[in-house]
Amino acid sequence: MALVLALAGLAVFLVVPPFLPEWITFLLTLAWAKALAVLGIVLLLRGGLLTFGHALYYAVGAYTAGFAVKFLGVHDGLVALVLAVATGAGASALLGLLLARYRGVHFGLLNLAFSMVLYAILLKFYAVTGGTDGLRLPTPLLAGVKPDAQHLRLTIYYVTVVLAALLLYVAHRFTTSPLGYTLRAVRDNEVRVEYMGASVSQAIYCSYIVAGVMASVGGVLAGFSVGHIVPEVSFWTQSGEFVFVALLGGTGSVLAPVAGSIVFEFVRNYAFKYSPYTWQMTLGIVLLIIIFFLPGGLWSLTGIARRWGLTTRRWSR
C-alpha cells in the first residue's frame, strides 16, 4: 500500500514537469538534490544524533565534481557521481572514527567545526578551489552522451529525481533493516544495545557513512543543476538549512525530507525576494513553532490520514 502510494507520487514527479515553466523544474531539481543531504540528517536523527555540519559532505560532493572537471578532465556526470560517492564515503569514514564517540551537543558542534574547517580551506586556497569565485561546472555528459541543449534542465531534473528516488529506496531499506533499528535502539537506550551484544559505536559509525554518502550525492546533483559551486555550500548556514528542512519534513518517513525540501525551496524563493533581512528570523520562528506544536514535522500530518485508514503499518497486525 505504502509502496503503491510512493510509486504513484514518483510517477507524478516524472510526468508533470515537461508541462511546467522551466524555473519550477529548476527549483524542483534543487529540492530533490538537497533532500538527499536532508535525508542524511534524518537518518542520523533517528539515532538521536543531530549534526550542524552535514553541509560538509554536501560540499565534498559538489567540489569532488568541481575538481574532477577542473583537474581530471572528467566530463561525464556519472563518473563524477561515482567519484563523489567514493570521496563522501572516504571523508565520513575518516571523520566518523572520531565523531562516533560523541553524542548530543558535542556531536552537533564537532560536525559544525569540521564543516567550517572545510569552508576555510575552500575559501583560502584560491589556486585550487577558486576561493570566493568558486568553480564552474559545465554541462556534463551522461554516460558519454551530450544532453540536448533544448531540454537540458529537464534532463538534469530527470537524472536527479531518478537517482534521488533510488537513494530514497536505499534509505528505506536501511531504516527497516537490523542496523536501522539498532540505530533507533541506540537513541532509546545505549546500555541495552551493548548488553544485547550489539556495538553502539559501530551502529553510529556505519550510519554516519551512509548519511555522508547521501549528502555527497546530493551535492553533486545540486552542483550540476546550478552549474556553479561556491564555498558557501560548506558554511554553517547551509547545514542549518538542512537541519531546518529535516525538522520541517519530520523524521517519520524517508519521504518526509523530499516533502520538506520542496516546500522549503518554494517558500524561500518567495520569502527571500520580499524580505531578505528577516529570512533567518522567519526560519527561527517556524522552527520554534515546529518544536512546540508539531514535533513530528509536516509528515506527522499524514498521521491524521492514517487514522482514517488510508495507510496502515504493514506488519503490526
Partner: protein, 277 residues
C-alpha cells in the same frame, strides 16, 4: 565568553547555541552606544558605555530567553534543546541585522584612547592589555561569586543535585534564570569589550560560537578552569598560526581540539558521566 558558555551549561545543562549572538548583541550595542554618546573629552565614559551595553543586553535578553523558551524544554531530549537554541540563534541573527543594518560598524575610539605601550623597545597597542585585565578581573570575580557567596553555594548545590536542592527549599527555577542571565551578561561583556578591536559585521555571532565551543570542548564542558586553559591554548595556537601560516588560523584551533578530543574525549578537565543502571 567561553566562561559564560560553560557556566550556563554547568547549571542549566543546555548548551546555548545562541550564546554567540548574545556576544554579538553586546558588541553591537556597545559600539552603537560609543558611536552615539562617547565623547573624546571624557574617554572613560566610553568604557562605561561598553559595560552598560553588556549589562543591558545580558539582563534583558537573558531572562527572556530562559523564561520564555528554555524553561519549556528542561528534561526533554537533548536534540530538542539544541534545536531550540538554534532557532533562537537564527532569530537573533536577524534582530541584529534589523537593528543595525548589514554595513560594518566600527567604533575604535576606546581602542585608540589607550594609546601605545612601549615594552622593550617595541610598541604595543594598549587596549589588548586592558582587555586582558578585564578578562582576568571578570574571571576572578566569577570565581569569587561561585566559591564565596551564598548564591554561589546555592548554585553548586543545584548543579550537583537538582531534586535535593529543591527539596531543601532552593527556588531552582529562579536560580536557573539568574545563572542564565549571568552567563548572558558574560557573553555580552566579551562582545562589548572586544568590539572596539574589529569592525562588526553580521554573522560574527555564529563564528564566535564555533570558536568558543572549541575552547570549551578542549577544556571540558562545565569546567570554568578548563575553559580558561582552553582559551589560553586556542589563543596561543591562533597567534602562532597567524605568525607562521596566516591561512591556517582557524585550522590550528580545530587541530588542537581534534588532538585533545582524540586522547581525552571528555576534554582536559571534563568528567565522564557514568550512568546508573
Amino acid at each position: 565568553m567561553s566562561a559564560g558558555l560553560t557556566f550556563t551549561y554547568g547549571v542549566v545543562r543546555i548548551l546555548n547555541l545562541a550564546h554567540g549572538n548574545l556576544y554579538a548583541l553586546g558588541a553591537y550595542m556597545g559600539a552603537w552606544l560609543v558611536l552615539g554618546w562617547g565623547s573624546s573629552a571624557w574617554p572613560a565614559l566610553s568604557y562605561l558605555l561598553l559595560l552598560l551595553a553588556a549589562v543591558f543586553i545580558g539582563v534583558t535578553a537573558g531572562p527572556v530567553i530562559e523564561r520564555l523558551f528554555l524553561r519549556r524544554v528542561y528534561g526533554k531530549e537533548e536534540e530538542i534543546q539544541i534545536l531550540l537554541t538554534f532557532s533562537i540563534l537564527l532569530i537573533l541573527e536577524d534582530v541584529i541585522k534589523l537593528a543595525w543594518g548589514v554595513s560594518p560598524l566600527f567604533a575604535d575610539k576606546p581602542y585608540t584612547y589607550m594609546g601605545v605601550v612601549r615594552l622593550g623597545g617595541v610598541d604595543y597597542a594598549g587596549y589588548p592589555f586592558l582587555l586582558t585585565g578585564i578578562a582576568t578581573v571578570t574571571g576572578l570575580l566569577l570565581w569569587l561569586v561561585v566559591t564565596r557567596t551564598r548564591f554561589g553555594k546555592v548554585l553548586i548545590s543545584v548543579i550537583t543535585d537538582r531534586e535535593v536542592s529543591s527539596a531543601l527549599g532552593v527556588n531552582v527555577p529562579r536560580i536557573y534564570t539568574l545563572a542564565f542571565t549571568l552567563g548572558a551578561v558574560l557573553a555580552a561583556l566579551g562582545g562589548a569589550f572586544t568590539a572596539p578591536m574589529f569592525s562588526l559585521v553580521p554573522g560574527i555571532g555564529a563564528e564566535v560560537i564555533v570558536v568558543s565551543f572549541a575552547v570549551v570542548a578542549i577544556g571540558g564542558l562545565g569546567s570554568i578552569g578548563g575553559a580558561a586553559l582552553g582559551a589560553l591554548l586556542v589563543g596561543l595556537a591562533r597567534a602562532t598560526a597567524v605568525h607562521l601560516f596566516p591561512e591556517l588560523d582557524l585550522f590550528a584551533i580545530y587541530l588542537i581540539m581534534a588532538l585533545v578530543l582524540l586522547f581525552r574525549p571528555q576534554g582536559l578537565f571534563g568528567q565522564v558521566e557514568a550512568r546508573r543502571i
